[in-house]
């Protein structure tokens, strides 16, 4: 994979950090690999182009970018939900656990082990949290499995257990997010894809949820692909990240390097030092990583 | 080659907004008009009075329904009731000595008043619920007309329509009836064609697409929906009146019952929602196809030696026309109008079709 790397630093396997499992370029085969994927909506609107990324087995990877960059589209191309929005993968390869998942129905992909936690939670509003979890167990047969998974989810999210009888539409944002993640976990996934879990949540809740996700990643070896606008929070928990802009991947680096990268700091982390507007305006016309 | 677009350049707004900028279209329209006007000379009296005449009147009714359903996007499952109101009102007016033209206009106005009053209440809801309210209106009208002798005209419930008098001249021949129907159909078609050039038309399209967005840009969606209902009811009322005076000659409750509403809906759907030429096609299709299928099946049955009971044959038109609705919705949901538009688009650039993607 030849991707433009930020001018500042190069990814150094030796400095594999203690965060989130395997470092980039580790020996294990990636659990998910996208190669030059292109997605078109309604046969006319190009959403993402030339997107290549990898999630190592057991790793936590972030996909960052501003609104409309194409992050959700990337996730939907993996989970198969594009067809619901009249989108099509027109080019490129999607491989999960070494086999191509192109053209598989969403149900099949969930069975293979891909869990997609949707943007905006999308819990089943009229069902209780308990019923939400039960509904998500449709793909994993036996009732015993279902009970076991449900107890595990309640173990990770005790607050959910407290509210398990309420109507899910009335849960708070944080509780709904926990429910959505728990619902994904019910399908016994090997890859958990989270789409903007921090959306609309208070910072301490975001930290709490991210910590729980990191715990799950560590304890169960569940690979995580985290899509986030909130780059600060995301870069705290992942091992490395991709940056998307206008439907293309523009940067791929370890989380440490990305945090230190001045461009990233400027555009996504709120700036390092005070700069005059004149400098910024001039700078924004010339992003160094676009070739 | 057939539709020459070379040399068409507009030098003022009027020519830019012309209804038929392409000369081939204009020639076609003029040709059709000539055919229509000379039809009494070229076709038999039977074709004229049994096929062309009802086709024209039902087309105008379909156009009226298309206004509310295809252009304004509001459901109306009770259009036959509106037509019935217009028919009954005009017949009663004419029987009481009102001059024919005024009677017909009165019929249209009565339909407008009742339709708008109902719409005023019904337009609080949308979609399925609006459809159901109009359906309920249809049932209520059915019931009122058949149970109130003052309206329906006595126990036999058949009200004879008095002879027509257009501008003082009695019109009694088939040819006369034909021209009256043709005239009305042309007026409605012209109105609908011009609709897309007017503010009203644009407002209706805005309301149809997203009414709250339309409200945001200053289009009072409730008022325009009401206007659409009123206009459409007027067209329906007059069409109903003309249908009675020129075709049926007498009015009974069954002529405007709920199955007629469904037939009209079928005409709109098969013709194409919002398509003007589609209304012509749809009306023709729905009127003619069941009869044709009947003959076809009867012929097939006699060839195969099978005997089809009279009862069976009587219901085949209905089966055919239910099947037609289903097939059209599956194959080409935008109806015959879209199929025609596809053909025309193909011919517009023929033989350079490869230029289009």
């Amino acid at each position: 994979m030849n991707l433009p790397v930020s001018a500042g630093s190069t990814p150094n396997p030796a400095t594999a950090d203690s965060k989130g499992g395997a470092a980039p370029g580790a020996a294990a085969a990636p659990i998910l690999s996208l190669n030059n994927v292109e997605v078109i909506y309604d046969h006319v609107a190009l959403a993402i182009k030339g997107v290549s990324l990898e999630v190592p087995a057991g790793g936590m990877v972030a996909l960052l970018g501003a609104n409309g960059a194409g992050k959700s589209t990337t996730l939907k191309s993996v989970s198969g939900l594009l067809r619901a929005e009249r989108g099509l993968v027109t080019r490129g390869e999607l491989q999960f656990l070494g086999t191509s998942i192109d053209g598989l129905l969403p149900q099949k992909r969930v069975q293979l082990g891909i869990a997609h936690v949707l943007e905006g939670r999308r819990v089943f509003e009229h069902l209780t949290p308990d019923e939400n979890l039960v509904a998500a167990s449709a793909v994993r047969g036996t009732t015993a499995d279902m009970r076991r998974n449900r107890d595990k989810v309640y173990g990770y999210f005790p607050r959910l257990h407290q509210r398990r009888g309420a109507q899910s539409g009335y849960l708070s944002g944080g509780e709904q997010q926990m429910l959505a993640i728990g619902r994904g976990l019910m399908t016994q996934p090997k890859l958990l894809m989270l789409d903007e879990p921090s959306l609309g949540l208070a910072p301490f809740l975001v930290a709490e949820i991210f910590e729980i996700v990191r715990r799950i990643n560590r304890e169960e070896g569940l690979s995580v692909l985290l899509v986030e606008q909130n780059a600060i929070a995301a870069l705290e928990v992942v091992s490395h990240g991709y940056l998307m802009e206008n439907g293309r991947i523009v940067m791929h680096d370890s989380a440490e390097a990305m945090k230190k990268n001045p461009d990233i700091q400027e555009f996504y982390l709120g700036g390092a030092e005070g700069r005059s507007f004149h400098d910024i305006k001039h700078y924004s016309r010339r992003k160094r990583w676009l070739t | 080659m057939l539709f020459r677009q070379a040399g068409i350049h507009h030098t003022d707004y009027a020519s830019d907004r012309a209804l038929f900028p392409v000369p081939a279209d204009r020639i076609m329209i003029i040709g059709l008009l000539v055919l229509a006007v000379t039809a009494p000379l070229t076709t038999s009296s039977l074709t004229l009075s049994s096929y062309l005449l009802p086709w024209l009147v039902w087309t105008s009714a379909t156009l009226g329904l298309n206004l509310i359903l295809g252009w304004a996007g509001q459901f109306h499952f009770g259009y036959a009731a509106i037509m019935g109101i217009g028919a009954y009102a005009s017949v009663h007016a004419a029987r009481n000595g009102v001059p024919w033209e005024i009677a017909v206009a009165l019929g249209g106005l009565t339909a407008t008043v009742i339709g708008s009053t109902f719409a005023f209440a019904a337009l609080r809801v949308k979609g399925l619920y609006l459809a159901l309210s109009t359906l309920a209106l249809q049932f209520v009208m059915d019931w009122v007309i058949s149970h109130v002798p003052a309206i329906s005209g006595g126990t036999q419930a058949t009200l004879q329509a008095p002879p027509m008098k257009l501008l003082g001249q009695p019109v009694t021949s088939e040819i006369g009836f034909y021209y009256v129907a043709l005239g009305w159909c042309l007026i409605v078609t012209l109105f609908m064609l011009n609709l897309r050039r007017t503010a009203l038309g644009r407002a209706l399209v805005a309301v149809r697409e997203k009414d709250f967005a339309a409200a945001v840009i200053g289009v009072h969606s409730f008022r325009y929906k009401l206007v659409a209902f009123a206009t459409s009811s007027f067209i329906g009322g007059v069409s109903g009146a003309i249908l009675i005076f020129t075709f049926y000659r007498a009015v009974t409750p069954e002529q405007f019952a709920v199955n007629v509403s469904i037939e009209l809906l079928a005409m709109v759907i098969v013709g194409g929602l919002g398509s003007i030429i589609g209304s012509y096609f749809g009306a023709a299709f729905i009127l003619l196809m069941p009869g044709l299928m009947n003959s076809l099946i009867g012929w097939l049955a006699s060839r195969a030696g099978a005997q089809l009971g009279v009862e069976a044959l009587a219901h085949i038109p209905h089966a055919v026309y239910g099947a037609l609705i289903i097939i059209f919705l599956l194959v080409e949901p935008m109806g015959l109008g879209k199929m025609y538009a596809n053909l025309r688009n193909y011919l517009l650039v023929w033989p350079f079709g490869y230029a289009r993607k």
Partner: protein, 295 residues
């Protein structure tokens, strides 16, 4: 005020109303899962009744075998209709879906008339004709059986929707995309609801057929069914039952007194008026949850 007349009208009306609920139940099942108002429900009821008669006649089996067999047949018919007719129109404007179900209704009615003729046939399920007596009040025995069946079905569905499969169906009716994302096969769930609705329609057809004979007029139950469904809330099963009771009582009592004033035929008027009033005053019905903007 003749109280015993009132009570008789009310009780018989309530039981007939519960039988209307059976038709409404089929409508609600489909609407809950696929947001389609199935205007062909009346025709499906009629078809179910005819299937029972034909199965009984051609296979020479008694009624209690013919009914489940016909239900199985209709189960398949429901799946077939959903797959062939409705799936292609998913996402299209609702007018087209409504017209499709309407077209199905017209087609099915005409086919039944063509194949089976227009003369009515009896549906012998062994309910004696003599009325039940509750004090001075005469109760229609067929209505009583029908009401009992309706209540039993309601209980069955309440239990069903608590089961795993039922929860999955409720999840589907909440959010298609979220359902896909957790591996639920929305297509299978929708097909299942159509199939269940067709089976319920068969039961309704059998019961109503025993009351008024099996002929194409059974499809006219659509208007009553829709009114009950809208009154109860298009996606509420419990609402369909309660609304059936209410409409049945109201229709029976009102027409019992109105018929003398207007000379007959006021039942349909009462039903239509109830429909209009419900839509004007409370469009989502007694227990409907989805807001009407969704349409």
């Amino acid at each position: 005020m003749d109280w015993s007349l009132f009570a008789e009208l009310a009780l018989n009306g309530a039981m007939a109303g519960l039988m209307y609920s059976l038709v409404a139940l089929g409508l609600v099942l489909i609407y809950k899962s696929s947001s389609v108002p199935n205007l062909a429900q009346g025709a499906m009821t009629m078809l179910g009744a005819y299937f029972v008669l034909e199965v009984g006649r051609h296979l020479h089996v008694p009624m209690w075998v013919a009914i489940p067999l016909a239900m199985l047949l209709m189960f398949g018919v429901g799946i077939g209709i959903e797959r062939v007719a409705l799936r292609r129109l998913a996402g299209r404007p609702i007018i087209m879906i409504l017209m499709m179900t309407l077209g199905l209704d017209i087609f099915l009615r005409a086919i039944v008339l063509t194949v089976f003729g227009s003369s009515g046939r009896p549906m012998p399920i062994g309910i004696p004709d003599d009325p039940l007596f509750l004090g001075p009040i005469l109760l229609n025995r067929s209505y009583a059986v029908g009401a009992a069946v309706a209540l039993a079905l309601w209980g069955l569905f309440v239990l069903f929707f608590r089961s795993r499969r039922g929860v999955v169906l409720r999840a589907i009716s909440d959010d298609y995309t979220a359902s896909w994302s957790v591996g639920i096969s929305v297509e299978r769930g929708v097909a299942l609801s159509w199939a269940m609705s067709a089976a319920v329609a068969t039961i309704a057809g059998v019961l109503w057929g025993s009351v008024q004979g099996v002929d194409q007029s059974l499809s006219m139950l659509l208007l009553k069914g829709i009114t009950v469904a809208v009154l109860g809330g298009l996606d509420s099963i419990g609402g369909a039952i309660l609304a059936g009771l209410l409409l049945g009582i109201f229709e029976s009592v009102a027409s019992g007194y109105l018929d003398k004033l207007v000379g007959g035929g006021s039942r349909d008027l009462v039903v239509a008026a109830t429909l209009i009033l419900t839509i004007m005053i409370r469009p989502h019905g007694l227990f409907g949850r989805h807001d009407i903007e969704r349409i």
